[in-house]
């Protein structure tokens, strides 16, 4: 039974990582921006969700409000700041780094320094008994949401017109532009979607991981590990990388606790040596 719990745990954590990494990967794939503000999108999204949930008591409203607000924030940042440094990687990265600090201080100012936890929504409270232990329903819900989002993103990319444009933009932005695709609008849209996904991860992670100053930096590192393993710019890679990291992290901590600090980084190093572009990255 403990094996089942270990696997479920790894997958649930992996799904949270996937939501985080998908946005990061999407943005990099299209725009070649290494978006360090991604950690802030996660944290600010989580905090907004927390406040909305405290006021309205509704988890669904909290999710919607956080995703919309942060997507809008992302669009504004892309439109008015990143746009000025198009394809200029260093300044872009520095701008996103600056925003990371600004949002970090702003959220400390607004929400204070104590770690805060979202309440588990009513229907997912309680745990499924499993032998000596029990397994929280909420984590099963996380797995379901992760799979749903992964399926949705796949459908969006492969089956919709916008997705086709997106893939064209990733392959060759200039030709796409020449074919009449409004790549500039696409950029803003993708940045907003990526930010929204991070906010979704923030709210969903709230009841498990809690929100606190510094969480933005911590999750950023996780997201990077996932996209490095999966391959920057690839959704499939983000999913595979996230599940791999989630499961390896759980099993590593359970069976090789003395290496707990490295369970996430050893696979990354190994994969970087074997496949520098990641599992699904392009050469």
């Amino acid at each position: 039974m403990t094996w089942v719990i270990h696997i479920l745990n790894g997958v649930a954590f992996g799904m949270l990582l996937f939501l985080l990494a998908a946005g990061l990967s999407l943005i990099y794939g299209l725009m070649k921006i290494l978006n360090l503000t991604h950690g802030s999108f996660y944290l600010v999204g989580g905090y907004i969700g927390l406040t909305v949930m405290q006021v309205t008591g509704s988890f669904v409203l909290a999710l919607i409000a956080a995703v919309l607000a942060v997507a809008l924030l992302g669009a504004v940042i892309e439109r008015f700041f990143l746009r000025r440094f198009h394809l200029d990687e260093l300044p872009q990265t520095l701008v996103t780094f600056g925003f990371l600090f600004i949002f970090s201080d702003l959220s400390l100012w607004i929400w204070g320094g104590n770690p805060l936890m979202l309440n588990v929504p009513h229907i997912f409270q309680g745990s499924l008994p499993m032998g000596y232990y029990a397994y929280p329903y909420y984590r099963l819900f996380l797995i379901a949401v992760g799979l749903l989002v992964a399926g949705g993103l796949w459908w969006f990319q492969e089956r919709t017109r916008l997705g086709t444009m997106l893939r064209a933009g990733v392959d060759d932005a200039e030709i796409a532009r020449a074919l009449g695709i409004n790549v500039s609008l696409l950029f803003t849209l993708v940045f907003a979607v990526g930010a929204g996904l991070a906010a979704l991860a923030g709210v969903l992670a709230g009841p498990v991981l809690s929100l606190y100053p510094g969480a933005d930096f911590e999750v950023l590192i996780f997201a990077f590990v996932v996209v490095v393993i999966g391959g920057l710019g690839s959704l499939r890679g983000a999913l595979a990388g996230a599940l791999l990291v989630g499961i390896l992290d759980d099993f590593g901590k359970a069976f090789f606790p003395q290496f707990a600090l490295f369970t996430v980084f050893v696979p990354m190093a190994v994969i970087l040596v074997m496949r520098p572009t990641g599992l699904f990255g392009r050469q």
Binding site: T2, I5, Y132, Y133, P207, P213, K253, P257
Partner: protein, 444 residues
Amino acid sequence: MTSKDTVPFGATAGSHRKQNAAPRRWRAAAMVSAALLMLGVSGLAVRAADPIKVGILLSLSGNFAENGQQTLTGLKMYFDKVGNTAGGRPLQLIVEDTQSRPDTAVTKARKLVQSDGVSVLTGIVSSGEALAVNAYSRDSKTPLVLSGDAGVDELTMPGPLQNPYMVRITQNGRSVASAAAEWAYKKGWRKVVTIGSDYAGGIDTNFSFAQAFCKFGGKVIQAEWPPVGSADFGPYLTNLDRSADAVVVFEPGADGLRLARQYSEFGLKDKLPIMDIYAGMVFESNLPQLGDATVGMYSSLFYTPMLKSPENQAFVAEFQKRMHALPNNEGPNGYVGAHAIVDAIDALHGDISDKMKFMAALRAIKFDSPKGPISLDKYGQVIQTQYIRQVQMVDGKPSNVPIASYPNVDQFWPFTLAELQSFKYGYKESKDSLTDCTHLLAKK
């Protein structure tokens, strides 16, 4: 607010002074002669008009911002209570933000002493900052009253860190852990699993627990060390040795909050009791967020807002007015720090020019505080009451109710200084040997 606060950015006094050097020399000469003249007439009267400057070093941004804010509130509450005067002289507080970084803490300490001319430093949240500022205090002979969390045991033990210009009125790792060990053994627990945050403070605390628990006759049968910032305790919880009588934990910060919820979610709460050293899981601000997940958990600490003493009830009421939340250990620590400074200045009638006399006055303090009776040992470390608390529902709210207390615990208990010095291994050599009582109690 009656005190003149200088908030973090206001380091302007020094830069003003640098202008026009020529008149400065003349002014200095005039001032020196005037001072000498007046000193001859009535030394005390002049000094009575001067404010005593108190430099407060706290993390007001960065990882420990909340700890800093709570400590600052406690400090100000006591200074306000005495009208910001001590020994007949006004007190002037100058607050500096250390940004939770040791190097910044030293820079700010130097600024406070050399440019603002403070007579005493206080505050300091993290142990890293405490070690750095302690060295500066010793070198510059500046009195330092640690009133923040920094709990490294060695700071106040005879040894390389010893500093005659420092006292600590807050805490140290060993005492809180020892109280937990004593109570755990009396409760009938003989075999426990420890979970400790994997950094110096966590290893030191759980080592102190294991050592004391071994002395009483118990034994740690499994020691888990999740890294700081562990997102998920699932792998550790499913790996627990279930033959244990209880689980003993040291997990501060967000880790404690996560573990508290996950422990009950994984169905362990009613199977293996928890003893939470330092109350990282059942921290005051965590309780309202966790519903009944923490009810029944035990913790050890030198304070709980549920203490019924008049000092504490007045303190809690005022603290809630200022912070709109219940105090945890930091507010009372700041409050006691300010009380110690004020009492020492009072004892010398405001004349703290002789630093050794001032330090002696600090070491001699004795008063009742929100934490309970306070005094200091000859090494400058606080002697205070340690409490065992249990989360119970009071007026519908989960609260840390005191269920046992250990008065007058000194920093060495349950050992003596000589015993501690005779042990062969410290916490640094013991992370992998917590389950081995012969190792923990081995003599040199």
